[in-house]
Amino acid sequence: MTSPRTVKRLRRILGMLPYVIAHPGADIAEVMERFDYTREAELVDDLNLIFMCGLPGYGPGDLIDADVEEGAVWVDMADYFATPSQFSPREALVLLASGMALMSSGQAPEALHTAVQKLSSALFPDAETSLVVNLDTEPEPVATLRKAISDRQPVELVYSKVSTGETTTRVVEPWSVFSTLGNWYVVGHCRNADDKRVFRVDRIRDMKILSGDYEMPVQDLEPVVEYTPNEDDVRATIRLGSSARWVADYYPVVKKDEDIIEFYASSPATVARLLLRLGRDATLLDGPEVATELENHQRRLLARYRPQKS
């Protein structure tokens, strides 16, 4: 294996070369900015390295010319590198999918639509009919939340907790709304809890914008939705049948064995519901709280379906 640092540097060189060849005497600051060089010495090192390369023979007429002169970058004798190389599937996918996702959210500038269109037709003609990225249609509260965020106004949420179904009213200073794994979330400071909280937008039953304003934190906007276990969590050991293996990839779990996982959740009800859905495909091996909740859920469900007695 070649080291990731080497690959990274090579990618940058192969990206920078075509630009510099197409723009003889390009301004060094511009080249640094476009190709993410933080120090001039890094760019000079790369140019010195290129200067050692070329075609077999490796004489003065075969080697690439590369130089920095009074803040201008020159590369010559390397016409074969004048055009960047084709995108790898991964590179193409990341760009197209990001562009399409933002477009589907209705938040994209016109320039993104034309950029994605140009990029897809340059890459392969079927792109527009064979790749579709749709964020879910924004649920209604998203637009209201966005407005509250831009006006820095707190909101009052009537919120049903996903795990327990319990409904509470909370006042939240919203920081950002985003979509992940098919759900929309709002992250912000919850005044009731006096702490940072993440809420699922589809569980907001009702909301209104309150008057007053709040301070947006300078940092820490990065939402953490990936579940991180903490000491209050319930823990359950589960054996997954072959058609339930996806659970191990989908949820944040600790793999104990090929088919045995340790599942963490903030409430036993969350795990119980998952186990009910999986049916015979999963077995709870350990987790007394979950077992109690599972039996309870099972009993409630069966009671509802028991044949009505006249």
Binding site: M1, S3, T6, L10, R11, I13, G15, V31, R34, F35, D36, L49, Y80, T83, P84, S85, Q86, F87, S88, L93, L95, A97, S98, L102, Q107, P109, L112, T114, V116, K118, L119, A122, L123, T129, S130, L131, V132, V133, N134, L135, S160, G165, T167, F178, T180, L181, D202, R205, W246, L275, R280, T283, L285, L294, E295, H297, Q298, L301, L302, R304
Partner: protein, 310 residues
Amino acid sequence: MNKVIERIINLLAFLLTVGRPVSAEEIRFTVAGYDQPTDEAFRRMFERDKDLLRGLGIPMKLAPTDHWEVEFGYVVDPDEYQLVDPGLTDEERAALWLAAQVVRVGGEPTGPEAMFKLGGAPSSTTGEPLAANLGADLDTVAALFDAVARHARIEFGYRDKTRKVEPYGLAHRHGHWYVVGRQRDIDEIRVYRVDRLTKLSVGEEDEAFERPKGFRVDEAMVERPWEAGDESYQVTVRFDADVAWLARRELPPGAVTETADDGSTTASFPVANPAAFIGWIIGFVDKAEILEPQELRDRLVSHISGVASP
């Protein structure tokens, strides 16, 4: 690190200009940096560099070096190598870069390298909050995207069976990636959830099938998981008042609903995948009840009864 990069740039320069397939032997004694003392040392070095070049998306292929196909050599066709310039304006480039930053594909933030082949990234717009996270195993999705673009056949395990599929398209919906294609043994178009694929292999052959004219992946996709299947049921479900608001958001637009005085809602709608439908209904625990058909009531009860706890 310099040595590795020099060698690879020399190799690429040679392959891009030589205009014919060249054997590994010729590369060893012609390109600077490959002249290793032993066959084994050369072979290891060359294999590693080849993998690296292919990983960067460089189309390095094998072709016979003579008419009699006695010997094979490596070739990089400049036409295939060169990116067709999509001709993005600065504004379009900036819009695409912004999209790549606020949308995450596969959990990892997209670095500026994504833009190198398009002339570099415009000055970075830091502090943009995350707008969406297209969670996925990027390697798998990229491999599928490559197969879709090349019209290459794929084979994978799905629900314990091996499927041979001609992939027509890739879609991201409701937080999941799906691949859509013709399952060859039954000659029907099917939708598969990417995170449930196992042992994916992508065929070597390009243009192994023809995509039907006018095929659109978005039209082949279904909105709700219980609509993807080949069975046909008309179901009636009662949702209790405290979950009816939530259920109504997820029902298909054509569902016939009736709300009783107590706030509970009865809804009738078609179901093509009973297992997915039952999974969804179980999520409501005892706050929802399948009224009809009896067959699906029985299936739900038998599913629930099969849940094993310690």
